[in-house]
Subunit: 332 residues, 2 copies
């Protein structure tokens, strides 16, 4: 039995949204569709930025709605895609006749529903273009990048796309910046313990004590290797050796590094892990321009972490530096 604070598991998403809206009144507001949340005080005449995804990944996805990131989000059930109607309503909520950029992760349900939303939007005179995050190196070989899933790299995609729109970029410029961001980004995850869907009540996969899973997905999708639990230093080496050569990141590259916990790993361990990652990256003469460490994209109460690295150019550097104010990312 999983020890949870909830009422009816079938109602957890609606109750979570209700609590979220009450807490963050200064950042977000409800819309007519109760599975769509939008930012408050969206600046005039800008491209709308939307996203959407399953629940249980907090702060993703609703935690990245706010100033200079996403303008609206479509909220799905736990670990399952929002409906096409929710994506459409998110677009309608933020459309200012400048077009809407839908920046989301590569999962079959999301792909299907975003495509349907785009078709419906055309009929209503709204232009939606999309960027599909596929930063998870472990989910498919490099020559099949279109099959790779989106993981914590999505946050950097939202940061860049949101900043470009805030700068006044047009739809094509916003899409190009978000696409460049995700094309320059690689991630890998490690799992130390499983999670349990509230409605199921038992884990849908297993990680034995003393073992870990390299390359695990954000919903427990199988990784590349199950091995004995390593030290932080060894884990960092394994993660770096997957992420760095794939892009590949090279000497003198300037990068953003994001280490996210998967939920139940204490934050102090994330800093221990980042401490090792930073040393390894330095050894490779790659320059860390900015680092984010914390619970940025979780999987309920899974233990483990993800490593995400994004290569910067002059444009991306300016956009990553732009202030942001959301529940999940606040930056001066």
């Amino acid at each position: 039995m999983v020890q949870r604070i909830l009422n009816d598991p079938d109602n957890i998403v609606d109750e979570m949204i209700s609590g979220f809206l009450k807490t963050h009144k200064d950042i977000v507001e409800a819309t007519e569709n109760n599975r769509v949340i939008k930012a408050k005080n969206i600046p005039k005449d800008k491209v709308g930025i939307i996203t959407g995804g399953g629940s249980g990944h907090k702060p993703a996805f609703i935690g990245y709605v706010g100033k200079n990131m996403c303008d609206a989000v479509a909220v799905g059930e736990v670990f399952s895609s929002p409906t096409a109607m929710a994506f459409l309503d998110a677009a309608k909520a933020v459309d200012q006749k400048k077009g809407v950029a839908c920046l989301y992760g590569n999962y079959s349900g999301d792909n299907m529903n975003v495509k349907m939303a785009i078709k419906m939007a055309i009929k209503q005179g709204i232009t939606i273009k999309s960027v599909i995050a596929n930063d998870d190196v472990a989910s498919a070989p490099k020559n099949q990048r279109e099959k790779r899933r989106g993981v914590a790299g999505e946050i950097l995609m939202w940061k860049i796309g949101g900043a470009k729109a805030a700068q006044g970029g047009n739809l094509d410029e916003v899409i190009a910046a978000a696409q460049k961001a995700i094309d320059s980004t690689r991630s890998v995850g490690i799992g130390l313990s499983p999670c349990t869907l509230p409605a199921a009540g038992h884990p849908n996969f297993e990680i034995k004590p003393g073992m870990m899973e390299m390359g695990i997905g954000h919903h427990g999708e199988p990784g590349m290797e199950i091995c004995s639990l390593k030290t932080a230093k060894e884990i960092a080496e394994k993660m770096i050796n997957i992420v760095i050569p794939d892009y590949p990141f090279k000497e003198q590259d300037e990068v953003v590094v994001l280490v996210s916990g998967l939920g139940a790993t204490p934050v102090m361990e994330l800093y221990v892990l980042y401490n090792e990652i930073e040393k390894l990256i330095k050894t490779k003469n790659i320059i860390i321009y900015k680092a984010y460490v914390g619970n940025y994209f979780t999987s309920l109460e899974m233990k483990g972490a993800t490593l995400t690295i994004m290569k910067l150019d002059q444009e991306l550097k300016k956009l990553i530096d732009m202030p942001a104010y959301t529940m999940g990312l606040k930056q001066k």
Copy 2:
């Protein structure tokens, strides 16, 4: 076996500090004492705000060092007090001959070490005055408030004391504001699963599946009652019925509400819990001026949550509204 990302458990605090300093270069910096971290760019001629406590409670304590909150922190081993020397060095790092306010939690080790640090400071010409947080209602009866422990209410005390110092308050004014903050604050915790000290490797207490512990402390200190695991609505009622009558908070009071996870409880459940707490507070005609929901003060990978309520007056309202910029609390 607990599934952790670490190297040597005896080295976890030093490695965590190293990773923390590398990540938050814009907010904090090292000092000569490797167990003391200070804020960057502390404004001139202000009262210094320091705190300190055991590790494993992230963002507490080092996550609240930064603009308009704490100026320096003394870092202890996991769940154990910093040394007297660390408290003293924290004071020395921020002393500007305006005095230093040490705002910390009521635990015997911290009390002893802060008292020693104050004595040593006098000899060096530094004035330290202290406020001891004792917001945990469950830890002693109301007529023995001096025995109560400090829990998540400490964050509100740091917010208020830090803001008062930033406003230019003198030492006595800062101490008075912080004391008023904690005197107006009450908290209670619930535990759903235990945590394990990295060096011990096994939990030092037990919560059976299907059960929960009302009034549990931040280190698993025994609470008031062990009962079957309730729904979010019932848990909210139990927490409210402990916190509200103790102060007591009354009709038309304006309050801050802080719901913190203990580490491994998914954040979506905290919003579900807050959704119920908000309804109950409204029913009592108490006015929620501001709410914080998230992992603000954790206990490694414990499952559970704390509820903290602080009554506001005009002064506290202005101070709680002041911007802050720390790893754990960023507010415009």
